[in-house]
């Protein structure tokens, strides 16, 4: 397959993600591997590129949550095919992030979407799920030395757990970057809570995390 054909295949992969095609995406991934396209290249220029477009559609209010969920299903189906073929150690993760919905809160759609976008952006992710006891965030940080911890809450009650969680995290690692997000939060509350950043949606979350990690480096 020549360069142009490979580029076209990657574009098809991108389109399959954007079109929410959970059957076609892994099939195209197989084709990409068979054509000799490097697995990492297929992830970044096919799947992740597709999610970038999805993110833009979401910002422009063309895509909403249902579309995002299905696009992420397609992306994950493709990742399942490609990941085993990525050469270990050859490509550094963009960053390492722990994420979870704080104790007392079981609403995790937002966190799921955030995870998808970080996955697409090449981060190593430690997803603790929902209703996560505050101590578990701190323990996981200790175990993983992550760059960023992202806390999510949908309820005004559960968001009150965040200041305590942030104190616990900073006690483990004063340099860790803590991001918060969720419907009842805003930049002002985030700052008051001691967070390093706030993101109103999944797309902004990746941008903010990347900016803060780069600044700290």
């Amino acid at each position: 397959m020549d360069v142009a054909q490979k580029a076209a295949l990657l574009k098809q992969l991108h389109d399959a993600v954007v079109d929410m095609d959970e059957e076609k995406t892994p099939r195209l991934c197989q084709e990409a591997l068979a054509a000799g396209i490097d697995a990492y290249t297929a992830i970044m220029e096919g799947l992740a590129a597709g999610m970038d477009t999805v993110g833009r559609f979401y910002e422009e209010k063309e895509y909403f949550v249902p579309e995002l969920l299905l696009c992420s299903d397609a992306m994950y189906a493709g990742l399942e095919v490609l990941r085993p073929h990525v050469k270990v150690g050859e490509h550094a993760a963009a960053g390492k992030i722990i994420m979870g919905v704080v104790e007392g809160d079981i609403h995790d759609i937002g966190k799921t979407l955030v995870k998808t976008m970080f996955e697409a952006a090449g981060w190593e992710i430690h997803d603790l799920g929902k209703d996560v006891k505050l101590e578990r965030f701190a323990e996981t940080l200790r175990d993983t030395a992550a760059d960023v911890v992202a806390l999510s809450a949908l309820m005004t009650t559960s968001m009150m757990a965040m200041p305590k969680a942030i104190d616990m995290l900073k006690a483990v690692s004063p340099d860790v970057i803590v991001l918060v997000g969720g419907a009842p939060l805003n930049a002002e509350i985030a700052e008051r809570y001691g967070a390093d950043g706030y993101a109103p949606d999944a797309i902004a979350a990746v941008e903010t995390a990347t900016r803060l990690v780069t600044k700290a480096a």
Partner: protein, 353 residues
Amino acid sequence: MHPMTSRERTKAILAEKPVDRIPHFPFILGFCARNLGLPITTIYRDAEKSFAAQQMTFEQYGVDWGPIYGYASYGTWEFGGEIEMPSGNYQQAPAHKSFPVKTEADVDPLGLPDVRTAGCLPIAMAFSRLQESHGTPISVVLGGNFTIAGNICAVEKLCRWMIKKPELAHRILRLATDHILQIVGHWVDTFGADRVIPQFWEPLAANRIISPRQFKQFVLPYLVETGERIRELGVRHVLHHICGDQNANLPFWAEVPMGELGLCSFGEEIDIERAIEVLGEKAIMIGNVDPSLLLTGTPDAIYERCRQAIEKGKRAPRGFMFSAGCELPPETPGYHLHVVQKALDRFGAMQQP
């Protein structure tokens, strides 16, 4: 001139008669438990204690309307799933533990629950009997059709099926709608159509989750059907809590029958002026100070925000009630609710005849 009692004020606004001041509509549940030093779970488990806690708190803070019973996760338990009552320091309402529908194969066999015995309905009925005996509105609170559907199969699944398997989404929405109608029918049979005011909370239909196009396709038809059938029962007022950012859905809400005089409550995401433009001719407007502000804001900021909401809402042609934009956080400092009361006393006066 003597101030009206809370009951007089509520009765007057529903009859479109003058009120002495803007009523304060309660979106205040877990806060009442905290106010009495009780666990939040009391509000949802114990009809008598819940009613008493709300009633005492409303008297303390000058809140009108009357106690209500309900929560946003309604539907999960009733259709055979499990919920968890709030516990610990950070939970404010019942939450899903497991959904009745976990796979596509679970959808077809799903049947309608018995409205006398399913889930929280016995507690809700006991609560409504207290509403009746105390002369407060009998406002049975349920999720809206779409929210109940999301509580049956998990909203992520519903979202996926809307696009990939719309027939499954419609089947669940059909069940949710029939369930709602059975409950309202049961309440009407028990208390009379003129006493019952159904309340529907629709947080899952917010544009943070679905598009207006999806609202039109999957939410609106069921809301319209429900509204029409409830009207046929003789119910005069229906309350919809249009939760979250539903600005793009507002024109569709205008098509939903809400009785002779509906009630629409909004979150802070919707400007009351815009809501009045779209829905003011068909409903009492209710709203809409940001609960986060009530929890964490300064008293001055809260007072000012209340003033703005009251000044805007007063222009609603068919009436306005002040409210938090969603449930008042249980940990809201008591002084903040006192500031709300002060703002209502200061800015909420209305001309009496």
